[in-house]
Symmetry: C2
Subunit: 210 residues, 2 copies
């Protein structure tokens, strides 16, 4: 607990931990943002998503994702061990429930990345989380980033761009919007940091229970 959180004039109460949900269209740069936040030492628990999709070059199991077999993933679904899950482009993706709960219960702030549809589910479960929508500077940037990634076929890419256009309509469910402009990653990271600092100074803190 910091000195500020124990200010006797403010009843000596500690600010409760917050849950930050970072979402946005596929290819907008959620992973790059989180990686940078982790690198510069954001004092957060970064939730590692579970997925049944194959590992991409450079990814590490348990760090970028928990890479699970389809079978293991299905058994987690059945056992109710996922806060939220979805089948996306033929693969499972989901948020391990225990990880989020344990971090929050130990008083740590938690951040998770999730696609826009998943964010809607979390919104139902935890309306008091902080919902940040990461938007692309424009659709050309999104197309470039998906091309650069080289993991999508032309058809998949078209599908993702159409999806992104629809996902922009989900903006209303979010609290904040941050634009991740090409070559300006640190601007976006700085804005997310500011949002978190502001949230920590709310007179009426959000209280997430899961």
């Amino acid at each position: 607990m910091t000195e500020e959180q124990r200010n006797p004039l403010l009843d000596g109460k500690a600010a409760p931990p917050i849950l930050v949900v970072l979402s946005g269209p596929s290819g907008v740069g959620k992973d790059s943002i989180l990686m940078r936040m982790r690198d510069i030492g954001f004092p957060f628990h970064f939730v590692v998503t579970a997925t049944s999709r194959p590992m991409r070059p450079g990814e590490r199991d348990g760090y970028d994702y928990h890479f699970l077999s389809e079978e293991r993933f299905r058994s987690m679904i059945e056992a109710g061990e996922l806060l939220e899950w979805a089948e996306v482009y033929g693969h499972y993706k989901g948020i391990p429930k225990s990880e989020v709960r344990q971090a929050l219960q130990s008083g740590r702030d938690v951040i998770l990345r999730i696609d826009v549809q998943g964010a809607s589910t979390i919104k139902q479960l935890a309306p008091d989380a902080v919902f940040i929508f990461l938007a692309p500077g424009n659709f050309d940037e999104l197309r470039n980033r998906l091309q650069w990634r080289r993991t999508e076929s032309p058809d998949q890419m078209q599908q993702r761009l159409q999806m992104a256009a629809r996902e922009m309509e989900a903006l209303d469910q979010f609290d904040y919007v941050v634009v991740n402009r090409e070559d300006h990653l640190d601007d976006a990271v700085g804005q997310i940091r500011a949002i978190i600092v502001a949230e920590k100074h709310r007179v009426r803190p959000r209280r997430v229970s899961l």
Copy 2:
């Protein structure tokens, strides 16, 4: 208008200007905070309060305050030219209405400092303003700062400290609380800056009309 505010995916709408109300007990350091913000070039219109109290050493008319005669102040009250005014410790203090309106109408963000009671009045007039409560680290710091200022008699100081204790109860009307700890002015300024950045990224912007 910045590039981000014109993002076509976000409907190309500009974020409307915000009104920030910085309040807190007397002696907590509102003036020092605003002065620092002004010095480091916060892109805000800083509202200059009108007062009928005598100028203190080092203060400049039209910059620190508009120093008015009691007579002039009373005629402004009668003409309805003040957004809010009060008689505090035998002197008038008030916020010139035209200044705030003109700045907002020209699209500029506006910040004003005001005592806690005045903040309540502004809250009625402009519930969509951003209300920041500046709190002292503890009462010793508040006492030290008032002593250092040497403009209050012992009686006045006792009165101000009692008032400060009552004012802490008004916290509920505010959106954010920032602690201005002795020798940590820049921490408080940084937190206020973060709050403003966050407010500028709200999906549902506050719209102040006065």
